[in-house]
Amino acid sequence: MRKIGLLAVCASAAIGVALAGEAVRAETIRVAVNADIRSTYPGVNRDSNTDAVMHHIVEGLVAFTSDGSVAPSLAEKVETPDGGKTWVFTLRDGVTFHNGEPVTAEDVLFIWDKYLDEATKWRCYKDFAEGNAAVESIEKEDDRTVVFTLKQPSALFLGLMARIDCAAGAIVHEDSFAADGSWSAPIGTGPYKIGEWRQGEFIELEKFAGYKPRPEPRDGYAGARIAEADKVRFVVIPDGAATKAALLSGSIDVYPDISVNDVEEFKASQGVKVGIADTMNLSGILMQTTDPLLGKVKLREAIAHAIDTAGLVQVLTLGTAKPNNSPIPVVSAYHGKLQSALFSYDPERARKLAAEAGYKGETIKMLTTKRYQTAFDVAVIAQAMAKQAGINIELEVLEWATLLDKYLAGDYQMMSFLYSARLDPSLSFDMFSGPKAEQPRKVWDNPEAQALIEQSMRIADKGERETIFNRLEEMFRADVPMLVLYNGPDIAAYSDKLVGYEAWMAGTPRLWGVSTGK
């Protein structure tokens, strides 16, 4: 009995020591990520978690603000003297890398030379090497001035440069690479520098004492990005229930991407706050226009009228997102009255249109996945709604990798799918427009629309672009190659002790300007 008592005391002591250890770590902000990062090479070997972490460490010349516009970041100012062909970047004075070296025009030339080498496999290589922002030359004018000359004028140049998945063309020091030219570790200019990375467990970032913030307030990925906490630790927790328990027990401080079904529970929990923001991600139902059945536009139109977008989005997001049938996200400056209109929910009209299309109740297969619960829920609700209009949809649930394979091959009749954010309407349309013969993944094969999209990429004038996007909107709704439903909200739950944490349009956690309140 005594031995058992002794064991209990030892165990309690061990646990006590363990929990004391936890207390020592309290200066750190701990953020959950559902999977480990892929690498520390920004914009090259990456996924969304990698992007989220790396944007704390590195900065590009420009960055996205919280309304999707582009603002200077490492650059003090950006000018285009000839309407989009030449871009002059003046670097901010006094900015240093994490190793103390000053940021110069040479550094910009060095890293962009890498990015424009196909062997680097930079995410945005194609856009800047041969796409609509193809770079002809990059030259140093003086130590603080770099001039990018494009092959043709581009309205998208800055937007593409600021792309989050391309790490905003991060400017890193040449010592980030080993002597043989391979990637070593990021030496950036961001508010945090890289600390310890235990694969499968966590990656820890440390405050960069020499960070020089911009004078403007924090705004998206732009503005002042001041590290308030000493450390930020991104903890890998793959299981949602475990992440929830971790937040409620105080083991983590931020759960950046909670399910809409957990919102009320978190709101009712002590010590936890919930933040919601509209994003530019897009959820919708793809319809294969080369399919013998769905090739008939009237059947696609029938499906659009059979699905109550407003009702579906309300049920699915519990009012946290707005219904949207337009490819242009609700938060975009180009989302106007035309884009706000929804397909009328009219089962009778749907039934009539389906009959006119010669539809006789054949089974239409819709592919979906459970990797993203909302994609699955969309499919289930849409199936039930379509049934009311006599349209017979059968669901097939696939694992995410398999679904992506089918998407890429265009091998589906219908598919409940999610697109990541495109921060410019040209890119929103471009992500699903194109010739199917060459790119089977493209959903909308309309040469006239494609020409308009390309035109929109070259024009900088907002009014002219708006006219083009409105025309595209009308054409898109007439062709109905897919039914856009909504732009998924970014819902984050976080400790109420955190000061300054906010959900935002890009849906990624931002830990600069955030403190533990101690």
Binding site: G21, G200, A242, S249, S251, D405, L408
Partner: protein, 314 residues
């Protein structure tokens, strides 16, 4: 003995070759592509083609297999497509986490289950027996993820006795390490107690019916002596086999428990690799698991003579 050992190891070679080929072919038959998963919804055919070429995925399957096998024979399991890490060191570091938890859990489960099963058999058909069988059956039926979550919510969240998520190596801080592995170990112990108790009980019931046990009792041996000295060695052999199988299974990865408790173990590494279609990592993990399984069962077989001298004679 050495000849026997070498013989057993040599017979494992065709098994491992078969496993390696089976895994190689099967994972490629599954739809999905590591490059497409990497690129997501922005994957375009040109980029996919270029990256497939860069990772050598465009070569003929047999050439890919041959190359991989050749390297694997030299201990090089290649590099992960996901993060470029060397596969073997990655597997070994993750295996360490799984192995510590599994070995502790199975040892504890055996220490509890074997006496419990023997007591139940000794008191066959009594209230004790019924309770032990009922509890063992209940534990056997409970899914490990559910049990793990319950323990996590009760002891981690409500009572706050142990950390909810994470892992700390013993070498870094043994006390913290104990706190972190307490719940995963408890989950595995509870799950494995069920099956081991039932096996220990069943084999003890059989042994207690044998004449030499009646003889021991007739000679006036105490019940403790009958159970410990006479019944245990014979009754333990089948349980020992089961322990070997359980150990082999669990060392291959406790993915569910690792996921619930956020442990960086081998099971989670494999599951993540499968989702990402990280071929080299999947192949490496499964081949490694097969090797561990073979070795654990070999060790179990070699231990048999300790319980049953007849095996050594044979």
């Amino acid at each position: 003995m050495l000849r026997y050992l070498l013989g057993r190891l040599l017979t494992a070679v065709p098994t491992l070759l078969l496993v390696s080929f089976g895994v190689f072919v099967l994972i490629r038959l599954v739809p999905g592509d590591p490059i497409v998963v990497m690129l997501g919804d922005t994957a375009d055919p040109e980029t996919v083609r270029a990256l497939r070429e860069a990772y050598g995925l465009d070569r003929p399957l047999l050439a890919q297999y041959g190359l991989w096998l050749l390297r694997a024979a030299g201990g090089d399991l290649g590099q992960s497509i996901t993060n470029g890490a060397e596969v073997l060191p990655l597997i070994l570091s993750r295996f360490e986490v799984s192995a510590i938890i599994v070995v502790i859990a199975v040892a504890l489960a055996a220490l509890i289950a074997v006496p419990l099963g023997m007591i139940a058999a000794w008191r066959q058909n009594s209230a004790t027996d019924v309770v032990v069988i009922a509890v063992a059956t209940l534990l056997l039926s409970v899914p490990s993820f559910w049990l793990g979550l319950l323990l996590l919510l009760a002891f981690g969240l409500k009572l706050g006795w142990v950390p909810v998520i994470g892992y700390v190596p013993f070498a870094e801080d043994w006390a913290l390490a104990l706190a972190y592995i307490a719940l995963p170990v408890a989950t595995l112990v509870l799950v494995e107690i069920g099956v081991l108790t039932r096996m220990a009980r069943a084999s003890t019931v059989e042994v207690l019916r044998l004449e030499y046990i009646a003889h021991a009792r007739a000679k006036g041996a105490s019940e403790l002596s009958v159970l410990a000295r006479h019944a245990l060695p014979n009754a333990f052999a089948p349980t020992w086999t089961l322990i070997g199988l359980v150990l082999g299974n669990l060392l291959g990865g406790i993915a569910v428990v690792e996921t619930v408790f956020t442990l960086p173990g081998l099971g989670r590494l494999l599951v993540d690799a499968i989702f990402a279609r990280d071929y080299p990592l999947i192949q490496g993990c499964l081949l490694f698991t097969a090797v561990v399984y073979v070795l654990v069962n070999l060790v179990v077989d070699l231990c048999y003579p300790l319980f049953d001298p007849r095996v050594a004679t044979e």
